[in-house]
């Protein structure tokens, strides 16, 4: 492959990598969720934590994104909201990811 081709690929890959990075930042930003006046990131960590604690008790405390404690009295509802938001953002990211993969293989 000549250097012109390689440069084209390099430029395209850089653009795709940057678009992925921006999309991930957007995803993280959209995962911010208010609950009981506290702020949570609807990511895998929070979902796993809430899911685990829920198995032990129906009433517990967790730290929010700013390390403030939040009393969770309805873990089922909280977990559902977290999962809903998480999947909503991941679906959007998945679509963009497919578009970018398509761009790279064209």
């Amino acid at each position: 492959m000549d250097i012109g081709h390689l440069k084209q690929h390099s430029d395209l890959n850089f653009k795709v990598a940057q678009a992925k990075k921006n999309a991930l930042e957007k995803l993280r930003s959209r995962q911010l969720m208010a609950y009981n006046e506290r702020l949570f990131q609807a990511d895998a960590n929070t979902i796993n934590l809430v899911s685990t604690l829920k198995q032990h008790s129906q009433d517990f405390y967790v730290l929010d994104a700013n390390d403030n404690p939040c009393h969770i009295t309805d873990p089922e509802e909280f977990l559902n909201k977290l999962i809903e938001r998480n999947q909503e953002t991941l679906n959007a990211y998945h679509q963009l990811h497919q578009d970018l993969a398509h761009k790279k293989t064209r």
Partner: protein, 244 residues
Amino acid sequence: MYCFNTPAVNYHRLAERCVAQIRKYLKLEITIVTNLETFKKFKPLGMINYKLVDNKTTNTRSYRGKNVAWHNKERALAYDHSPYDTTILMDCDYFVFSSTLLELANTKFDVMLHDKVEDITGEDMIIGKNESTLPLVWATVTLFQKTANARMVFDLIQHVQQYYPHYQSLYRIRYPNYRNDYAFAIALHQLKLGNFIPTPMAMLADRVDVIDSDDDGIVFKYNDCANFTSGQDVHIMEKEWCNG
């Protein structure tokens, strides 16, 4: 929102676009603090609260290689100017393309703002290293509630503004002109208050041109590259893109 035209920049054009985005994504009541001269330039925007003030005109900034007027000192009075219990104080060059700010506003805090930024070109054009001995915050979007702590923060910001050369020297701030980011950072640092928005603020430096936009995002160009955003709030430092 604070909006004062300068000889170099029609900030009212940015504010008009900003209002349209807020209406679409946040659906909140809007108050624009401006001066009479700028107020006369606004096209009819429907239900907007205007607060007319005589703004200070003593500050300048560097923009695309020129030194231009920068009327940014009224923001220190936002606590008194705001008629709301919870306020999203926003620069008119910050454009919302999502409802993320509503989530933030529905939580409990005194003052909340960004302490991290993300240059969405990936070229790291925004942050200089060792610009001060202070952890920098970004006052571009500042949420506050009418609490005693928030009152203290804004009182201290006014004090910092009044004695800025002293604080500039104390914190070894390299930036030569008064900048709200530093005044807010100093006040929060001195009072040990403030919450930070967990995700960075997406930003485009003034060297980046915005070449197209719709109500979902923008297309921007830098060097020989073009890219776009979609559904992502963004702080755009280029000031001419809304001039049409």
